[in-house]
């Protein structure tokens, strides 16, 4: 403003002066006016200062005060350009541009006001800064999403560092060192990290030539042999002659037997394995229905058997085969082996456990189905001493009968014979065991009591079963259960025969769990049966609850040596039973359930008003018609959900006391109920999770190190995050390792 004002005034004053010269006529006025003007200009002061010529260099020269030389005029653009037009130093292009400029008549737009221009500048600067700051966005989001943040950010890895990093500028100095390093570098040995040299690594990776050749030769040979073998097998299979195959099979079997015998001598372990295999095959056979004469073919043959000798023989053969296959392999080896190895190998079951099988026949419910035909023959078979001759006779007799049913039953009989034979053997074995048991004496017994109790119980069952088989051999039903004899022996052989065998067997057995046959209370034969029939309607569970108490019934000792132990056991049991005498948990539960069921049943509402519509008073009752009319019957309730679940009470009523602990609204980060529920359902503790999982699940969100200053984020972090993000695709494990290390390092760190 200062620079503009004087000039304006100056121009005004000049105009006025010219006017004064032109109009001299009004001199007085003029003089006065001049005087006034002079006075006014004198007030301003310094007005007459000539517009200066520049004589010395000034720091700031006003662009408005520059004048053309000599004349009191403003400097025009053209004045300045003229010199440029003539001087050869100015390039022609510029000259042209200047000419164009001087020709153009457009006025330049007025510049923005200072405030406005500043605002524009600010806006631009802000936008620039905002863009610049946005480069942190990736880091920020990455940190927000990360499962764990470890502070301080730029932690150096702990632990010993390699020498080269610690000592910078270390050089080989002494001649010895030089020699060592020369040697190392010459042999391509690792200098920094003493791991494998490249050659060693390469050799590790590669296989030697000789080895490879040997390997290849081996493979070739194997392949050739296999192809020969296959071709041979194919050829043989095509041979149709049955006789050929039979001979072959026989030869093979013989061969095998020979081999096996040899094996017994040379390689007992291998022989045992073979034996095991055979045992397995036997098991399979026993399980399957093969060769049982129950197939389609067998049935058709059975029809034919009456008339056709061939068919009969074929069936016979089948059964023989079955017998062969199911017969237990009993070689000298196995016995011997078991005797030898049994003690050394704790994995194996003791002898009598294995041998008890025939004894278990009666106790094991699975075995009974096969034995269902036994009782009829039992007596007879018992009288005869088991001998191969007798067996043959039996066969002959049966064949003479040649009855259809007999033919079908034959297999069972033959099996029974076999079993009986085994039983005889078994008994002897058991006796042995018993003897040995007795020999060991009571001193050992106490110690062994606990460990052996299992086996003893089993063994006792076996012994009992055998005794009965020997003595009565006819007891049907739960004859196997070690009962006090009298009760069971009520049943005679005739009774047993009258009854359908399966029924006899199965009914009582379903009552007694097979796990502890000797301790189970005697079902007491017919009595139990009678009870059962009467109680048909009573719930099974309820019956069972009562059973739990009968466990306490004292058991008559069957063997003298076990008596002491069982007494102790009984004492223990008695104590426990006494302690929990009143606790019939199951019955309580059932009572509870019934109560709930009753409560939930819809009730009949009686809305009868006595005396309404008829006479009322003492001794008068509303009529039955009225009562019937006003009794509101509610629709029967829907079947309870726990109707078929005996051990469960399902209550569909809302429990008010629970709602205080329940979440009423879906919490924020979750999008649906299932998400939230699954989040709650996932356990975190080490009771339910492995150590690793627990570590992972309970990892704190922020880890800080105790007593360490956490510096604000720096540019390096940005670069590092970028690099890690770029390398994430390739080297993710590295990053996680790094994080882990940092987490481990922060051992003394805590959650903030």
């Amino acid at each position: 403003m200062e620079s503009e004002d004087p000039e304006m005034e100056r121009e005004d004053a000049e105009d006025e002066r010219e006017d004064a010269e032109d109009e001299r006529e009004d001199e007085e006025d003029e003089r006065r006016r001049l005087k006034l003007v002079e006075a006014i200009t004198a007030l301003r002061g310094g007005r007459k200062k000539p517009l200066g010529e520049r004589s010395e260099a000034a720091v700031r020269v006003s662009e408005f005060a520059v004048t053309a030389e000599g004349e009191r005029q403003k400097v025009q653009l053209s004045d300045l350009i003229e010199g440029a037009q003539q001087s050869p130093a100015v390039p022609t292009q510029t000259r042209k541009q200047l000419q164009n400029l001087s020709r153009s008549q457009k006025t330049v737009e007025q510049p923005l006001s200072r405030q406005e221009s500043e605002r524009v500048q600010r806006d631009l600067a802000f936008q620039k800064a905002a863009v610049h700051v946005s480069r942190w966005k990736s880091v920020v989001t990455q940190n927000r999403r990360s499962e764990q943040l470890v502070f301080p950010l730029n932690q150096e890895p702990s632990g010993p560092k390699p020498l080269e990093k610690v000592v910078t500028g270390w050089r080989v100095q002494t001649p010895l060192e030089q020699e060592v390093f020369n040697l190392l570098s010459a042999n391509k040995q690792p200098i920094h990290d003493p791991v494998l040299s490249p050659a060693e690594e390469a050799s590790l990776r590669a296989m030697s030539l000789e080895e490879a050749q040997i390997r290849r030769a081996e493979l070739q040979k194997a392949r050739a042999l296999q192809s020969y073998y296959e071709a041979k097998a194919r050829r043989e299979r095509k041979i149709k002659s049955k006789k050929y195959h039979r001979v072959q099979n026989k030869a093979r079997r013989k061969e095998f037997l020979k081999q096996f015998d040899q094996m017994v001598k040379t390689d007992p372990n291998g022989a045992l394995e073979e034996l095991n295999k055979m045992e397995l095959a036997r098991m399979k056979e026993r399980m399957s229905l093969k060769h049982q004469n129950s197939g389609k073919w067998a049935r058709s043959k059975a029809i034919m058997a009456k008339y056709d000798e061939g068919a009969r023989r074929a069936m016979q053969q089948q059964l023989e085969l079955n017998k062969d296959l199911t017969q237990k392999v009993r070689s000298s080896l196995s016995n011997q082996e078991e005797q030898e190895d049994g003690a050394s190998d704790p994995e194996l079951l003791p002898d009598f456990v294995n041998d008890a099988e025939p004894g278990q026949v009666s106790s094991n419910p699975w075995m009974r189905g096969e034995l269902s035909a036994e009782p009829a023959e039992a007596q007879r078979s018992e009288q005869e001493v088991a001998a191969p001759a007798a067996e043959k006779e039996q066969h002959e007799e049966e064949e003479e009968k040649a009855d259809e049913e007999e033919a079908l039953l034959r297999d069972f009989e033959s099996r029974r014979k076999l079993r009986q034979k085994e039983e005889e053997e078994q008994e002897a074995a058991v006796q042995d065991v018993e003897d040995s048991d007795e020999e060991e004496g009571p001193a050992d017994q106490d110690q062994e009591e606990e460990g052996l109790s299992e086996f003893r119980s089993l063994f006792r069952g076996v012994a009992e079963g055998l005794k009965e088989a020997a003595a009565a051999a006819s007891s049907a039903g739960c004859s196997s259960a070690p009962l006090e004899g009298g009760l069971i022996r009520i049943r005679t052989v005739e009774d047993a025969e009258l009854l359908p065998p399966e029924d006899v067997e199965l009914l009582p057995c379903s009552e007694s769990p097979p796990s502890a046959p000797q301790e189970e209370a005697p079902p007491t034969g017919q009595k139990a049966r009678g009870n059962k029939k009467r109680k048909r309607n009573i719930e099974l569970k309820e019956v069972l609850t009562k059973d739990a108490k009968t466990v306490t019934v004292p058991l008559a000792p069957t063997l003298t040596d076990t008596a002491d132990g069982s007494d102790e056991e009984l004492d223990q049991r008695g104590l426990i039973m006494e302690a929990f005498a009143g606790d019939d948990v199951i019955a309580d539960f059932l009572r509870d359930k019934r109560k709930q069921e009753d409560a939930a049943k819809p009730k009949v509402v009686d809305l009868t008003l006595p005396g309404w519509g008829e006479w009322g008073g003492q001794g008068l009752k509303p009529s039955s018609r009225k009562r019937r009319r006003f009794r509101v019957k509610v629709a029967p309730a829907e079947p309870r959900k726990d109707q078929r679940l005996p051990g469960v009470i399902i209550s569909e009523q809302r429990n008010g006391s629970l709602s205080a602990h329940q979440v009423s609204a879906l919490p924020f980060p979750f999008e649906n109920h299932a998400q939230f529920e699954s989040a709650v359902r996932t356990p975190l503790g080490r009771t339910w999770n492995t150590e690793r999982t627990v570590k992972k699940l309970t990892m704190p969100k922020v880890l800080t190190q105790l007593g360490t200053i956490i510096q604000p984020m720096t540019e390096e972090e940005l670069a590092r995050k970028k690099a890690s993000a770029a390398g994430a695709g390739k080297e993710d494990p590295h990053k996680t390792k790094d994080q882990k290390r940092r987490a481990r390092k922060g051992r003394h760190s805590q959650k903030i």
Binding site: A343, P350, I752
Partner: protein, 454 residues
């Protein structure tokens, strides 16, 4: 006879030393653990209760000032050193581990308005009501030496705020204008003025170190770029629902040290506002809970939380993205809290208040201090996760959120709630009885920003 016995490998159940934990074989089959949720719920409940039992945040009170503590400064390289300036111009240097004052100096006449430690930790700057900026050595002067500032700069006006650049020898002051100073020069290398209002605080962005923010008394927040000559942008804050008589300016501003573009300002309208500096039209979060003007705010060095000091005699800790505080600290004797700092290891909070004391608090009230045994740490982690897992369950939330408040604050909170409800109800009624769209719904965030000036 062969006997089959159970045999176990002793390694499976025998400890090597008696200090080892007993090995507990577990079966993780979920069908065997039908009550896992219920059990964990109980554990979570117990953990929450124990947390409240052990919540004892107050550690120590440092007394020695003879007037209210007006400013605090963290040492940049030492965790155990704290500087404090009081209203009588005295500056004290404290050793926090010993909890004693190690040095006292009369720095200014009148208030010590601001104090900051140089990034190297060898010297610190103070400004005061006597219009001077002084630089002091961090070391205590030796025996016989005078306690003298390294440099003294005499300014034209009173300075109200001070902050130092993160890496360079440049610092910023504010008063009537925001000045950027070079440590070597006695005149500012740059001055920013925008309007005629005075500024109450200035702070450098610790991440994007060339950026500055300041709070002006015309209710505005102004951002600057040190590289530019003009201020960047200006937000004018207004309080919509408080009485007009009250001032509504922001008192302090603090940048998030881990997230470059977020800052939080403490406002006179009882709230704190977190802004994204790129979008100043509305704050990201409005942090409400104080019942009087918020005087100071400081971020945790991890950038996850911040702490605020208020005129209502409480300190509150807010998660950076939560609208309400997670913790409130108060004592009977603590008066208006004027300045607050979060320690550089993120474990402690330091507060200076009107009644001449500096208080040391734990940042996590129930946390056990010191080195934890591995099992302790694991247990702490587990219970923390449990608390998080069940935090939405009403019983647990109730216990976790329960805090005792002074009666006055409790009632004032209630009163404010009533007022707010009334205002909302009225607005709803007005909206109901006017032309649809005539009374627009304004969100809480939008309410507080009057305008953004470019």
């Amino acid at each position: 006879m062969k006997v089959k016995v159970l045999s176990r490998n002793p390694d499976d159940y025998i400890r090597e030393t008696k200090l080892d934990i007993q090995r507990v074989p577990r079966n993780y089959d979920p069908t065997l653990h039908p009550f896992e949720v219920a059990r964990e719920y109980t554990r979570a409940l117990n953990a929450t209760k124990l947390e409240r039992v052990f919540a004892k945040p107050f550690l120590a009170s440092l007394d020695g000032h003879r007037d209210g503590v007006n400013c605090l400064a963290k040492h940049t390289t030492s965790l155990s050193t704290l500087l404090s300036g009081s209203c009588d111009g005295e500056v004290k240097v404290w050793n926090l581990s010993k909890r004693e004052c190690v040095r006292t100096l009369q720095a200014h006449e009148g208030f010590v308005r601001g104090m900051v430690v140089r990034f190297c930790g060898t010297s610190f700057f103070t400004i005061g009501d006597d219009k001077t900026i002084k630089q002091w050595k961090m070391e205590t002067p030796g025996y016989g030496e005078e306690e003298e500032p390294l440099h003294t700069i005499l300014g034209k006006t009173v300075f109200t705020g001070l902050d130092h650049h993160q890496k360079e020898g440049v610092f910023a002051t504010c008063g009537q204008q925001v000045d950027i100073w070079d440590e070597q020069r006695s005149s500012p290398i740059r001055s920013f003025t925008w309007g005629v209002d005075s500024f109450s605080s200035v702070s450098f962005n610790p991440v994007e170190t060339e950026l500055l923010g300041s709070c002006a008394s015309d209710r505005s927040i102004v951002l600057y770029d040190m590289r530019e000559s003009a201020p960047l942008k200006k937000v004018t804050n207004d309080m919509d629902y408080m009485d007009v008589i009250m001032t509504m300016r922001s008192n302090t501003l603090c940048w998030n040290p881990m997230e470059a573009y977020y800052f939080t300002c403490a406002n006179e309208d009882y709230n704190l506002y977190t802004y994204d500096m790129r979008y100043l039209e509305k704050p990201l979060v409005v942090h409400m809970d104080h019942v009087s003007a918020v005087l100071d705010v400081d971020y945790s060095p991890t950038g996850q939380e911040f702490v605020s000091a208020s005129f209502d005699k409480t300190i509150r800790i807010f998660p950076k993205d939560a609208g309400h505080s997670r913790e409130v600290y108060h004592t009977k004797r603590m008066q208006h809290v004027i300045c607050i700092k979060w320690s550089a290891d993120s474990k402690y909070i330091l507060s200076g208040s009107d009644e001449m004391n500096i208080r040391l608090w734990k940042a996590n009230a129930a946390e056990k201090l010191g080195v934890l045994a591995p099992r302790e740490r694991e247990a702490a982690n587990y219970s923390q996760k449990l608390k998080e897992k069940f935090q939405n369950h009403p019983q647990i939330r109730r216990i976790a959120r329960h805090r005792h408040l002074p009666k006055s604050i409790y009632h004032q909170t209630k009163e404010l709630r009533v007022m707010k409800d009334a205002r909302r109800r009225k607005e709803m009624n007005v909206r109901k009885h006017s032309k649809p769209g005539a009374v627009p719904v304004v969100s809480e965030k939008e309410k507080h920003v009057v305008t953004v000036v470019k």
